[in-house]
Symmetry: D2
Subunit: 169 residues, 4 copies
């Protein structure tokens, strides 16, 4: 089974720089023969899917509504849950690891749920939002073993290293 | 976006005949360029996935536990929800239409949830279990517009016809 | 802890007779010092809550939307889940036992989920809908150990007997 | 309908001081004729329930497992969801407002989900954990309109003020 990597981050008001990083990460996910999972909507999610598709990958979007048309156009498998924000829990439970950029309330909930489920989170350094904020407090909050940090171009490598180590355990 | 077709039915104590039918239906789903969705476990689910993979298709399994290793070996995308039986609601909400064979309690809940969500259900005639039982009562229960019946070799054709009609509406 | 008894059945187009039965059952639930749980909306749910409140009981409604104003006026504790029909799974998982009258798609899904979770279901004899239909097939479908039947005035007694037996196990 | 106030915070390794604060808050919730909602387990949740019961209140616990025996002894209505950590979404969606003390991963996810659902969160100042950490970043993260802060003895007053203002809108 191919590893499933979730990319999380804001839907709206995302900087051009973060969108570019998300697209590059999506491509890296696909080039490493992993499945890209996300919340299926716009912003960071769409950029990551675009990158994955450009690199020939497979993309899955776990949607809040019952209407699969809400998925961005780069989602291969739109999953219309009808669970609203409760679907955030699935975005992380279905992934082997999570890459987080920027982000606001939704991303905050997803990082929290990742930590609950012992899913490793790699924060893209310097991306801002709740990602950087939580990374800055990971030692104080005793999340040091589950929240990691990586430069944009190294995020997928970092995730793959962590997954390999977990598989060996 | 490719249509997503869910195949539902029992995990345990399934007849050889039903497994063969499920495998054929899985192949038909794949040959018609649709994605096969199911609960990801054994029995009817595994047979349908086996058929879809043999025909070069893509398979998604929405699992009850948090452990993706519970998926059968023919699932490409195992989604570990941790929701227990509440995941039954996702098996049907994420599908465009449902094909049902045999079945017991889980299948019963999935047909009920399909009807709640106005998702068309095609029952495989003569497969027994809750599928045939509910089909026998579809007029009495006023489910005639949502529960359909088809011979085993015609189930996927029937589903595709129904999806096309719904798309035109 | 007080036993929690769920009453399930249709929201719309319910006969006056069934509403009267549901109200009586709600009263019986309260008089036996049990908590009444339901889907929180109209029809059978509202009638059962009305009966429970008239008898001084406590009522809990597990709602599909995020708006607690959708609860009927006899719900003491409206729980706004935002899960849509997926909330049906909670109506039965949170109950010790279920009483079912009449019913259509939602009730069908709830009986299926009750059987999945090994929760006893007492069908009110003669109430029609999916309740009577499933009761008629309980032996054929091998649900005989989990689907029970009772006359309207005996439904709560039957449920309490079953809960007592389960507690002794 | 009585307001429903959720109290969130850690289950394990909670300071005596935080437990005392949680108990006082639980009492304040009950004395103000509100329903206390929580995750139903130990630590902060149990302390809040104990306080509410001592003041004659009503307590609801939304549990992760299917076993209602996992509830602490001060929960009147144990709701066994079987949803695992996905139940965190219900703890906040079912509340009118949230009071947060200390906390780790679970609390983090619940604050995130509160913000997603536009539910006001009152952080108990000086309680530490993710509560204080997020409060310290509320302006930087643009959560200033939804994350509030209050001294321990003022938390319930603060919540009631916020609920009143929201009702007027």
């Amino acid at each position: 089974m191919k590893p499933i990597i979730a990319v999380i981050g804001s839907e709206n008001a995302v900087s051009k720089e973060s969108l570019d990083v998300a697209e590059e990460i999506g491509s890296d996910v696909a080039r490493n023969d992993c499945i890209l999972l996300c919340g299926g909507r716009g912003g960071i999610m769409e950029a990551a899917c675009r990158g994955a598709k450009a690199a020939g990958g497979l993309t899955v979007g776990i949607l809040p509504s019952l209407d699969k048309k809400e998925a961005n156009e780069f989602v291969d498998i739109p999953l219309s849950t009808g669970l609203g924000y409760a679907r955030n829990s699935l975005v992380v439970s279905c992934a082997d690891a999570i890459i987080s950029l920027e982000g606001r309330a939704g991303t905050l909930s997803e990082i929290g749920l990742s930590l609950c489920n012992n899913k490793p989170v790699v924060v893209v350094k310097g991306s801002g939002g709740v990602s950087d904020f939580l990374e800055s407090g990971r030692d104080e909050l005793e999340f040091g073993d589950r929240i990691h940090a990586a430069d944009p171009g190294k995020a997928v490598d970092k995730v793959l290293d962590i997954i390999k180590k977990l598989d060996r355990q």
